[in-house]
């Protein structure tokens, strides 16, 4: 108990940074992932190829390597300078959106064919079909996998601790230098994550109930 109270100056702000990382990256990767899914089903073959290459590359690279590229290789490009927090957000977004793209694409496949056929019969264009008919239904039906991907991203935020982002994964190193009991400290960190994941699961269940579709 002492470990938690003595080091509240670590646990509080660090977990808050984790939550901030998660919220910002979550929204960004949902948007970017949906755009990627749109690319992958688009009528232009080149765009489909670009989407597929991007997803294949990022799904097969460890997230740590994406971070290393962004933190050490990106500054060499001398475009805009990113703070370490922003770099972490960008890395998490780029990585998670590849997975979200796949989930959304499978969601698109679950929408009954009749929907798209009726839309085409009405003369809607590709972007209209996707934006107004298919995607809303697709997203609603893949709430569990989406939530699962986002929970995975929450856990991945701990990797940012190695790249100058003071979030929950860095707590252990501070504790070890301060000479505190690392086991108890780590258990408190684990508890923190369990609580966060539980909150997300509750949200997932309530969304599922609201949007469940009888097929």
């Amino acid at each position: 108990m002492d470990v938690l109270l003595d080091n509240m100056d670590l646990y509080g702000p660090f977990f808050w940074t984790t939550i901030k990382l998660f919220l910002i990256s979550g929204v960004a990767s949902l948007i970017f992932g949906t755009i990627l899914a749109g690319l992958r089903v688009s009528p232009v073959p080149v765009l489909r190829a670009i989407g597929t290459t991007y997803v294949t590359l990022l799904r097969n690279t460890p997230l740590t390597l994406v971070f290393v590229f962004l933190v050490f290789a990106y500054p060499l490009l001398e475009i805009i300078e990113l703070s370490y927090f922003t770099a972490a957000v960008v890395a998490l977004t780029l990585y998670t959106s590849a997975f979200i793209c796949e989930v959304v694409r499978s969601g698109i496949n679950t929408v009954p064919v009749g929907q798209a056929e009726a839309a085409r019969a009405l003369g809607l264009t590709f972007t209209q079909i996707l934006g107004q008919i298919v995607l809303p239904q697709a997203l609603r039906s893949v709430v569990p996998p989406l939530m699962s991907t986002l929970i995975g991203m929450l856990k991945n935020t701990t990797i940012a601790a190695g790249f100058s982002v003071t979030e929950a994964g860095a707590i252990r190193q501070y504790l070890s230098e301060r000479g505190d009991n690392q086991l108890i400290g780590l258990l408190w960190v684990a508890l923190g994550f369990i609580i966060l994941v539980a909150i997300l699961s509750v949200i997932q269940r309530s969304l599922e109930k609201r949007w469940s579709v009888a097929r």
Binding site: V68, L76, S148, G162
Partner: protein, 286 residues
């Protein structure tokens, strides 16, 4: 579904598509060219930064690191599969207490980040007197986390099987364990193979976290070489090489999955079950 979203393009649409294709290629090529140009400009492709690859010791160490990654992956994969099968059966047990414990364990290990798990074993262990070498900490962490995810995958697979299978097995007089091991689990594994293999790809990538508990795998070695002042600190070249190796490994594994899936479709043993809707939600992300 994808080809229902748009009509066969007419003349105007073809022109528009060609325009968008050209635009897409130009944008991507410009980005890549700029990146390569900036790297060359900042000296990332000079011979000095890549000379570390030439040395025999470096090559041997790189190979050893690759072997270490594969070792952790192999052991972790086998143990995770066993763990997953055991706890999937536990969650489907008739005894409420077995179900309760299994559910608790599976949900507990799914909620903790893999990083924290590995830290718990490597740094937290000595506090209670249990000193684990990095390899054990990595394999244990991988097993517990991926095993929990695989338990969910197996459970979904078993529940997706037609009820007739288990009913027929019971009608033949098999007991619960026999039904599970002889009839249900083998079929569940076959039908969930794509998801299982994609989770194994995640496991392979997760071995990369081993460097944080000083397990000498690929990423550990990449950071070590990247920090050598004698070679001009080649952080970017070493990362590029190791990223290429990881991508190649994962692609090989995924290609293997596709081959197995195709062969399975043609096999007569395969039951045409609709993969349950919950497959993707279980597969983890890391």
């Amino acid at each position: 579904m994808s080809n229902v979203l748009f009509d066969i393009p007419g003349p105007k649409a073809r022109v528009r598509h060609r325009l968008m294709a050209v635009l897409g290629i130009v944008v991507v090529a410009a980005i890549l060219a700029y990146i390569v140009y900036r790297f060359i400009d900042s000296g990332q492709f000079t011979a000095r930064k890549w000379e570390w690859l030439q040395y025999a010791q470096v090559q041997t160490d790189l190979l050893n690191a690759l072997l270490a990654t594969l070792k952790a992956f192999a052991l972790g994969a086998v143990l995770a599969l066993v763990f997953g099968a055991v706890f999937a059966a536990g969650r489907l047990s008739d005894h409420a207490w077995v179900r309760g414990i299994s559910t608790f364990i599976v949900e507990f290990f799914r909620a903790i980040p893999l990083l924290i798990l590995m830290f718990l074993f490597y740094y937290g262990g000595p506090v209670v007197g249990v000193s684990l070498p990095p390899f054990a900490a990595v394999v244990l962490g991988l097993t517990l986390y991926n095993g929990s995810v695989l338990a969910e995958v197996f459970r979904a697979g078993i529940q997706a099987l037609p009820r007739g299978q288990s009913e027929a097995a019971y009608a033949l007089g098999m007991r619960k364990t026999q039904v599970m091991t002889l009839v249900l689990i083998p079929q569940a594994i076959r039908s969930m193979l794509p998801t299982i293999i994609s989770q194994l790809v995640v496991l392979l990538k997760d071995t990369a976290l081993g460097f944080l508990v000083t397990y000498p795998e690929l990423l550990y070695y990449a950071r070590y070489i990247g920090s050598q002042g004698a070679f001009g600190r080649p952080i970017v070249p070493s990362t590029i090489v190791v990223a290429a190796i990881y991508i190649a490994l994962c692609l090989l594994l995924t290609a293997l999955a596709n081959v197995v899936e195709k062969r399975q479709r043609r096999s007569k043993k395969h039951l045409d079950t609709q993969p349950p809707k919950t497959t993707e939600d279980i597969a983890g992300v890391v």
